[in-house]
């Protein structure tokens, strides 16, 4: 049996400088859990679907003590479901597949769900706590409204974890030196639709408003236009730290938060 870690190689910068590329904190946690949850005799395999540069991340993972690393040669813009299909064919039969809860660039968190569907195994996603037992695991998942769900994992499953759930071990120096020459299996990815679209900076959209509450027409207009409230006076200022601090305290006083 095998335990798999899915690692996405990302360049977390707008200038696409790949010297700063790597895997996210969430994927590092996933790798650590893969190493921790493998039973004696089980292989631990890391998979990354991406360009050649991804092999650097895989080598770093190998240095931490993997049995095998696979790179699926795939356009980094491939859709989550295409990534999942490619990964599924490379790791079929795995007992556990660990993922990060979302990737830094696409950031949809949907690859693990697609992967579970393709592999036909269970899923437990968005985990904030994992306790590994002898024959089952207890995991905690976030729900909305700050509620949490406790689940038990007894069979094959895809699990995705948040970044702070585990700290990746530091690879030994021998591991690092050996990983330089490790062989990384390269598999051709399935050709897939590319979601190539332009990206623009995020700007909040106008929100729908609840019905105006005032009784007179004037009140309603006032509450709709927010006239007379502080939100109208938005301003941007460049200040030295001491001036900035004074300005903040001043604003808190003006707005009545400080005596």
């Amino acid at each position: 049996m095998t335990v798999v870690a899915c690692l996405k190689w990302v360049i977390p910068r707008v200038d696409d400088d790949d010297r700063f590329a790597g895997i996210s904190a969430a994927d590092q946690s996933a790798l650590e859990f893969a190493l921790l949850s493998a039973r004696p005799g089980e292989d631990v395999v890391a998979v990354s679907a991406g360009p050649l540069g991804a092999e650097r991340a895989l080598r770093d993972a190998v240095a931490c003590g993997l049995s095998r690393a696979i790179r699926i040669d795939l356009d980094p813009r491939a859709s989550s479901s295409a990534v999942a299909s490619s990964i599924a064919s490379a790791v079929a039969g795995a007992r556990l597949v660990w993922c990060g809860d979302y990737s830094l660039d696409r950031g949809t968190g949907s690859m693990p769900g697609f992967l579970a569907a393709r592999l036909g195994i269970g899923q437990a996603l968005g985990l904030i706590d994992v306790t590994i037992g002898d024959d089952s695991m207890s995991v905690v998942r976030r729900l909305d409204g700050a509620r949490r769900e406790i689940m038990r994992v007894t069979g094959p499953a895809v699990l995705s974890v948040e970044g702070s759930t585990a700290r990746l071990r530091r690879a030994s120096l021998r591991g690092v030196l050996a990983a330089d020459n490790a062989i990384i299996d390269v598999i051709a990815g399935m050709s897939s639709p590319i979601d190539a679209v332009d990206e623009k900076p995020y700007r909040p959209r106008a929100r729908a408003l609840a019905a105006p509450s005032g009784t007179s027409a004037l009140d309603r207009v006032r509450s709709l236009t927010d006239a007379g409230t502080a939100t109208q006076r938005s301003e941007t200022v460049v200040l030295d730290p001491p001036e900035a601090a004074a300005r903040i305290v001043g604003a808190l006083r003006d707005w009545g938060y400080l005596g």
Binding site: R19, R170, S172, L173, R174, G175, V176, L177, D180
Partner: protein
């Protein structure tokens, strides 16, 4: 440790800055097994400097380096500027030939340059290990250095020779006992801002085009703290900074940011950088006093190169370190490889390293200029000469018609007195300067 082949490597190089990468290239070229250890996530990731390299020395190590090196602009103008509070005197030299192969100097970003240089080391056969910090030296019973300890689990590595290229204030050179006490007056603080401007604006303001660049060194303008300044052009940024004498800085209770701000506001500087956006602010210590503070360079099983050996020339109109680092790294790599081949890595076996340094510009320049840092950073040169020189020039060039022009000799005498400079001092400093620079 008498069986060298049982070692993890023949040569371990600590630090993949310019010195380390060149040491690794040289040793690997000579057929040695080399491991190059760098604490950053990639070589150069955290390294900073002013911004100009003079890579002539690479002709030997990386033939036709200018075709692949990540250069911003080729320096075709070098100026030295003397600033008084409001005036400025520039000596400006331009040579468009410097903008042609084989080139002279270039502006470059260190993360680009250092990473590129480390790739040359890997291509030569060295193994590069990043994100790994060397935390100590391994020694045998006789005290000879036989390897390093790193911050990774299972992190000891053995080698016949360790080359310490870990930069200024070298922890390894100190641990090996090669430095006598370090005196803060031997260091300066370098502070730099990277200022963004569109390329065509930089071209216009500095009178250059295409990939031509400018290197300006500044005397004065550091708010009374002894030191100097610099302005370099990159493609679409300007590097502007100051180097400040540490004890003076402390005594004057000025913050480096304030000094940079004052320099930026100087009438001769402000128009060059007007409208620029600050992209980055960084600071780093520089070994300043040059020849007089150099450590012993060699001990049993170890040599020291680059800033770690204080091989940096920061004397007012010169701010060079990368070239010395590369040259000394190369010599260290060659000497280490030869010592391994001869199976004598004692201090004596490694001594050819120092001989090589003495025979090249590395130590010759430092010896020749050994008094210059002291002179350039002296209170006289720093506090009084800029005002003196600029007021002399101001009076020579001022047109006071219908008054007749005064004679130059008279102006000099008057201004020297006004600046409080004794004639004997002026003569002595002139002589030191002539001998040093000449």
């Amino acid at each position: 440790m008498n069986r060298p082949d049982a070692n993890d490597a023949d040569v371990i190089v600590v630090g993949a800055g310019p010195a380390g990468s060149c040491a690794a290239i040289a040793a690997a070229r000579a057929g040695r097994r080399v491991i190059l250890i760098e604490r950053g996530p990639f070589p150069g990731s955290k390294n900073m400097y002013g911004g100009v390299v003079y890579p002539r020395i690479l002709d030997e190590l990386v033939p036709r380096w200018w075709e692949t090196a990540p250069v911003q602009r080729w320096v075709v103008r070098r100026s030295t500027m003397i600033l008084s509070e409001t005036g400025a005197l520039s000596v400006d030299y331009r040579s468009n030939a410097w903008g042609q192969p084989p080139y002279n100097g270039a502006t470059a970003y260190r993360p680009d340059f250092d990473e590129w240089l480390s790739r040359q080391a890997v291509a030569a056969g060295a193994q590069l290990v990043t994100s790994t910090t060397v935390t100590g030296l391994l020694r045998d019973a006789s005290g000879r250095v036989v390897g390093v300890r790193t911050d990774r689990p299972d992190g000891d590595l053995t080698a016949s020779v360790v080359i310490a290229c870990d930069g200024v204030n070298s922890f390894l050179a100190k641990e090996a006992g090669l430095y006598s006490a370090t005196d803060p007056s031997n260091f300066t603080l370098g502070v730099k801002e990277t200022l963004a401007l569109p390329k065509h604006v930089i071209d216009e303001r500095f009178g250059v085009r295409d990939d031509q660049g400018v290197d300006i060194e500044i005397l004065g303008g550091t708010s009374g703290v002894n030191g100097g300044g610099f302005v370099y052009t990159n493609l679409d940024t300007i590097a502007l900074g100051v180097v400040l004498k540490l004890p003076k800085l402390a005594a004057q209770k000025k913050r480096p940011e304030e000094i940079i701000a004052t320099l930026k506001a100087h009438p001769a500087i402000a128009p060059l950088i007007e409208g620029a956006e600050v992209k980055e602010y960084s600071a780093h210590v520089i070994p300043e006093a040059g020849y007089s503070m150099m450590p012993t360079m060699v001990t049993d099983g170890m040599v020291v190169a680059g800033d770690a050996a204080a091989l940096c020339l920061a004397a007012g109109i010169w701010l060079e370190g990368v070239n010395f680092a590369m040259a000394s790294g190369m010599c260290a790599g060659e000497a280490a490889a030869a010592a391994v081949a001869r199976n004598d890595v004692s201090a004596k076996g490694l001594a050819p390293y120092t001989d090589k340094l003495n025979a090249t510009f590395v130590l010759r320049d430092h010896k020749k200029l050994r008094k210059v840092p002291g002179l350039v950073l002296s209170d006289r040169v720093q506090q009084r000469y800029p005002a003196f020189v600029t007021s002399v020039v101001e009076r020579v060039f001022r047109v006071d018609n219908p008054q007749p022009k005064p004679g130059l000799r008279r102006i000099v005498r008057q201004e020297r007195k006004r600046a409080g400079i004794k004639l004997s001092e002026l003569i002595r400093d002139g002589w030191t300067g002539l001998r040093g620079f000449g």
